[in-house]
């Protein structure tokens, strides 16, 4: 199994939307390397013909009647929003201006 480098941690952090500081990259690289080394024990069964289990209950598509029910008011739904306007969540700029 490959070791985890500082660059890989930086890549994972980008994918996971974590703006890690430089000193964190170093710290986490060592720790993630230890953890991945330990959990790699599962790969012993990689070639075994065993079905995977994703969930303890054998459930698929639990349906209910499509009926309107009481739900949160707009005020309630927006009550925890960092910013809102005109009954909508207000977010920072999504599309880039440059290029």
């Amino acid at each position: 199994m490959p070791g985890i480098t500082r660059e890989e941690v930086a890549h994972l952090a980008r994918l996971a939307r974590l703006e890690l500081k430089d000193e964190e990259l170093e710290h986490f690289a060592g720790q993630l390397d230890d953890i991945i080394g330990a959990v790699a024990a599962v790969s012993d069964v990689a070639d075994e013909d065993v079905p995977p289990t994703s969930h303890p209950l054998p459930l698929t598509n639990v349906m209910r009647e499509d009926v309107v029910r009481p739900s949160l008011t707009p005020q309630q739904a927006l009550s925890g929003a960092p910013a809102h306007e005109q009954q909508r969540f207000m977010v920072p700029q999504i599309l880039g201006e440059e290029s």
């Binding site: 941690v9 996971a16 703006e19 720790q31 959990v39 289990t53 910013a83």
Partner: protein, 497 residues
């Protein structure tokens, strides 16, 4: 006068129903206890004095009006800060939700309110329930009432400490890999992880959805059963909630019996890393079960040795997906929204500022395990191990009615000892994880103090899915036998705070 904080929930509820004690008196006694000791223990993140007293007054009015009260009416409870509470802060132990006031109640919260349970406040926990010591809380650790320099377990260390410090006779926890049972073990209290799907997850902040399960925490087996029966049951708001009758756990707890019961001892739960005093008390418990008329069967479940590895791939994978909702857009913390950063940058800056180290580690670990090129080797293999563990349990339960083991390999370790050593911390849950992977039910209850350090040891009882009542039948028998032997409850030996 009786110290109301020393009573069991069952006895307290009877006294309230009989009019010997008012719910307001019971609530005030517990609030006063919290006032006196919680500065040292730090079990609570938030107290809801007004809400608790309002509920207590409501219960007293009902009784005066001659209404029949429920079995836990007026009994105070400490709620883990992972269950949403309308109008009362819910932080999950994280800066990212600091100050958030949920606009709705979790199903568990609603059921507690409907049962007239008095919710005192919200208890401390490892951030997003990730941890085994409560040191990962963004709001400071909780102390173990047996020794305040030691961990109260985790993630539900606030709930277990509240019980052991007599701040509440009941508490709620959640158990993804042991977060109810391990805290119960190290504080000398009782904790139950119900069968997966037995208790609704609606309004319970998600960590690892295929493993998370809410459950009761208490100081006696009967109290845990009474609470279990209040919170369990089908909920159409949780599509993974089991649509079947709740096992009669209260009747089982009132009729402890193990005669003729086949009890399995799994050889993989033991060996290196297990404290001598823990194994001694466990061995005595097995002997006790034999004396009480149970048949003990030695078993091997070889795949259990891979449970830790599978768990630390599956849980982080699910958490990396679940925690994507903390994007700084709709609720919670937002950092860097000063007009110079894009939404994506604001998300990354907020998650960096709002998440603690363990959450970051697990999110990145899950991202790694799910990424292309590693998916089959890691996540895919972990899912196969999950099948093998489930099959080991199935084979075992073809031979025995319940399995017993130590709940944890060691007693409570000192605060700080494993705080920055994730692998050492993860080992605290080595006996509890297989149960979550298979979706079975399990309980931890006190079985004595380890001779070398005088700290509580937990006995784990595991039952097949949907057979939760077996935990209570066996637990009640063991509890009664130990208390007869000791002449008191184990917690009576805890130092006064």
């Amino acid at each position: 006068m009786t110290d109301l904080t020393r009573l069991s929930a069952a006895v307290l509820a009877e006294k309230i129903a009989a009019g010997e004690v008012t719910a307001v008196e019971a609530t005030e006694a517990h609030l006063a206890r919290i006032e006196a000791v919680d500065e040292k223990v730090h079990a609570f993140l938030h107290l809801d004095r007004e809400g608790a007293l309002a509920k207590a007054r409501e219960v007293d009015a009902k009784r005066e009006a001659g209404e029949k009260l429920g079995p836990l009416a007026g009994v105070p409870l400490a709620l883990k800060d992972i269950f949403t509470t309308e109008g009362v802060p819910t932080t999950v132990g994280s800066k990212i939700l600091e100050g958030w006031i949920p606009p709705y109640d979790a199903t568990v919260t609603r059921k507690l309110k409907e049962a007239d349970v008095v919710i005192l406040g919200k208890t401390n926990m490892d951030e997003f329930a990730m941890g085994s010591s409560t040191e990962n809380s963004a709001f400071g650790p909780t102390g173990n009432p047996w020794d305040l320099t030691r961990i109260p377990g985790g993630s539900g260390g606030g709930s277990s400490a509240a019980l052991a410090a007599f701040e509440a006779p009941l508490a709620l926890g959640t158990d993804t890999g042991g977060s109810i049972r391990q805290p119960a073990a190290v504080t000398g209290t009782v904790g139950v992880k119900p069968t997966y799907g037995g208790v609704s997850r609606y309004g319970m902040v998600a960590f690892s959805s295929s493993l998370d399960q809410g459950g009761p925490c208490a100081r006696t087996v009967l109290d845990a059963a009474l609470l279990h029966s209040v919170i369990a049951g089908h909920d159409e708001r949780d599509s993974t909630s089991i649509d079947a009758p709740v096992p009669d756990v209260v009747a089982a707890a009132r009729n402890g019996e193990v005669r003729g019961l086949r009890v399995g001892v799994v050889q993989e739960f033991g060996g290196e890393g297990y404290q001598a005093g823990v194994m001694q008390r466990f061995g005595e418990s097995v002997e006790l079960l034999r004396e009480l008329g149970a048949e003990v069967v030695e078993l091997s479940c070889p795949s259990f040795t891979k449970a830790l590895a599978a768990y630390y791939l599956i849980a982080p994978s699910e958490c990396s997906s679940n925690l994507a909702r903390f994007d700084a857009m709709r609720y919670g913390l937002r950092v860097g929204d000063d007009g110079t950063h894009s939404a994506e940058e604001v998300t990354a800056l907020t998650r960096e500022a709002g998440f603690g180290d363990e959450v970051k580690r697990r999110v990145m670990l899950g991202t790694y395990a799910l990424s292309s090129g590693y998916y089959d080797a890691y996540y895919g293999s972990a899912q196969k191990v999950r099948t093998l563990i489930t099959q080991d349990f199935e084979r075992a339960f073809a031979q025995v009615d319940v399995i017993v083991s130590p709940t944890t390999p060691t007693t409570a370790f000192p605060l700080g000892e494993r705080a920055d050593d994730p692998m050492a911390m993860y080992l605290a849950d080595v006996c509890t994880l297989p149960v979550n992977l298979a979706g079975n039910a399990a309980m931890s209850l006190p079985c004595g103090l380890a001779p070398e350090d005088g700290l509580p040891v937990g006995l784990q009882i595991i039952a097949p899915a949907m057979a939760d009542e077996r935990l209570y039948r066996v637990g009640a028998a063991v509890e009664a036998a130990y208390e007869a032997r000791w002449g008191h409850q184990l917690l009576d030996e805890a130092p006064s705070l």
